[in-house]
């Protein structure tokens, strides 16, 4: 089965179970169980799990449209993270629990702010060169205090226990960054759609504001960033799971850069309605800001990518890109 056959049913499923009203309920504290059971039954949580382990066995490259769809629908559960955890553990013959899993590289037994930590039951954490799947029951979760945020910082008093596998050489953060890049690309696409539709409908000065050149030029800039984000996130997925460091860096750097103007223009065109809680725009723009920060911002990844580029200074840019983040 290829990803195109899967995308349409997945998109329909998400439009139903992750409709904006559902997301609002989850953000207000409703347990994720009901949504999660539907996703579990759908089989999509095992999209990346090897076929021998009972999954669909999609490559990360083929799964990119699904990962973007999760961002498009602002799904308030760690679906992409769980897909990847199940794939990595399934390859090593380790069976996963049914619940939602987040990915968390640990530093001194403490995670960075991790999106959706509040609705997860487990975390796949990286300690040194090892990944450990551990229940969150034993972890301390500190909420961010940000309005409607489901993110949190996870920490442990002693090394968390659970089944373990060797960490991919590139590190868990690079894996998470590619998933986040796809989510940004998906949400950015949704925002472009909403903002363009609004510009066509909203009448001022006797005509739709989308007829004004000043608005058209802003939406064109937004469209460029949206397409760049999609292609960059695809580049991140192109080499499969785990991604290469440079490809992950390109994906998260470019999508993080895009997140800011995309959110900015979406709000600028919408005017005051866009910053009201009642209107759906904020479901996506708040996430863009959270996701830009998560798993390393643009500067974090630029530094890693730049170090590799300068170390290969005798190579041309074209050759460097072809070798590391080409298509």
């Amino acid at each position: 089965m290829d990803s195109h056959e899967l995308l349409d049913p997945f998109d329909k499923l998400l439009a139903d179970v992750a409709a904006p009203a559902r997301t609002r309920e989850l953000e207000a504290g409703k347990p994720v169980n009901e949504l999660w059971e539907t996703l579990q039954e759908s089989g999509f949580l095992d999209a990346l799990t090897p076929e021998v382990a009972g999954g669909v066995g999609l490559s990360l490259h083929d799964a990119a449209p699904l990962l973007q769809a999760l961002g498009r629908h602002a799904v308030a559960a760690p679906v992409a993270e769980t897909m990847v955890a199940r794939a990595l553990l399934g390859r090593e013959g380790i069976e996963c629990p049914d619940g939602p899993i987040v990915l968390a590289p640990l530093h001194s037994l403490r995670s960075a702010v991790t999106p959706l930590a509040r609705v997860a039951s487990h975390a796949l954490v990286q300690i040194d060169e090892t990944l450990v799947l551990t229940p969150l029951a034993a972890a301390t979760l500190v909420e961010t205090g940000v309005h409607r945020s489901l993110a949190g910082v996870l920490s442990w008093g002693s090394p968390p226990a659970g089944p373990s596998i060797p960490a991919p050489a590139v590190g868990l953060r690079a894996v998470a960054a590619v998933l986040r890049a796809c989510a940004i690309a998906g949400a950015a696409d949704r925002l472009l759609e909403m903002t363009t539709a609004y510009a066509r409908d909203r009448v001022q000065f006797g005509k739709p504001i989308g007829k004004l050149q000043a608005i058209q030029q802003q939406l064109s800039v937004m469209a460029e960033q949206v397409v760049a984000a999609r292609l960059a996130s695809q580049l991140g997925c192109a080499g499969g799971l785990p991604p290469g460091l440079e490809a992950a860096a390109v994906a998260k750097q470019v999508t993080s850069i895009a997140a800011v103007p995309v959110a900015e223009i979406a709000h600028a065109v919408h005017g005051a309605i866009g910053i009201s809680e009642e209107y759906d725009l904020q479901l996506y723009t708040r996430r863009l800001h959270e996701w830009r920060l998560a798993d390393g911002s643009e500067s974090y990844w630029a530094s890693l990518l730049g170090a590799a580029r300068i170390a290969a200074a005798s190579q041309s840019s074209v050759d460097f890109i072809r070798a590391t983040a080409g298509s």
Partner: protein
Amino acid sequence: MFETLTLSQLPKEDEALREPVRALIAEALQGVPTSHRARSWQGFDAKFSQALGRAGYLGLNLPKAYGGAERGPFARFVVVEELLSAGAPVAAHWIADRQSAPLILNYGTQAQREFYLPRVCRGEAFFCIGMSEPGSGSDLASVRTSAERTSTGWRLNGQKIWTTNALHSHYMIALVRTSGSASDRQAGLSQLIVDLKAPGVTIRPIVDLTGDAHFAEVFFDNVELAEDALIGKEGDGWHQVTAELAFERSGPERIYSSVVLLDAWIRHVAQARGDKAEAIRLAGRLTAQLATLRAMSIATTARLAAGESPVIEASLVKDLGTSFEQSVPALIADDLGAHPDEPIDAELYRTLLYVSHVAPSFSLRGGTREILRGIIARGLGLR
């Protein structure tokens, strides 16, 4: 939205062109300083173009019957990427290969194809584009240069300006008015192939702010052209020119104009810089953007390969690409200037200032930023 632009692969058989063309380029560029290589598609070298032609790298998309290689747009992408990445002097054949030849193939008569296309493939017929006029820049439909029918063909009067390479070209494909008046806009326009050696043609070079004279004014004073100067259908000029611009806008030259400078700066940082932290971050940022633009450019090429005319996609990549190209000299200048006590190679300095000075043209040639964004807005359904 714009889902048609999606990650695409360069086919293996086209990648195979890379090594041999690279060898040819390396030979031609021996001893050529960086600041000259930075001129790339402004750099004129007829002998190099002819060498490319002999080796079969021109007219890659043209049928074999006309001397072409009969390969798809991906083959051209690979060869063009190599030429631009190295800063090879491609100006002589650039426009003929990129847009004049496809135009003649698509709209020309059999006789026109047989006459012009083999010459383009051999690097013997150089073309320039006759679009802009003193009164017609972004508003291209307002052109006033006119051709009237005579008993033997056409009589051409008027003026073109900002014509790249007019001085070194054999032919111009000019957009002219063949009926009606400027108020008829897109109606009544046609494209004519003008032999630039014809009596009545005067070409006056225009020196630019870098000291180069790559563009020119071209005057037509009762220039008599034969009947077969018309390319395509009389009155179809606007439609044809739009298709031509899609070729002009969709190539990888819209992302690589500053790449010679970028690579020279990276070598400089690697050799001369102690604390590299900030430069590393900048190199990473520019590399990530370029990798993404390259993927977008290949995705646009895939639309061409699928037989489409990706007007909107090409506009999107060109606007983002030229913004990147223009940011490169500005950011590198700040980086170098932030280390005033670090010696800079004079050649790097010249390259930086050359690119800084010429960079505004990146988003003028082939359609301004504002025009491109208008096309994207149309793609969004806003116009």
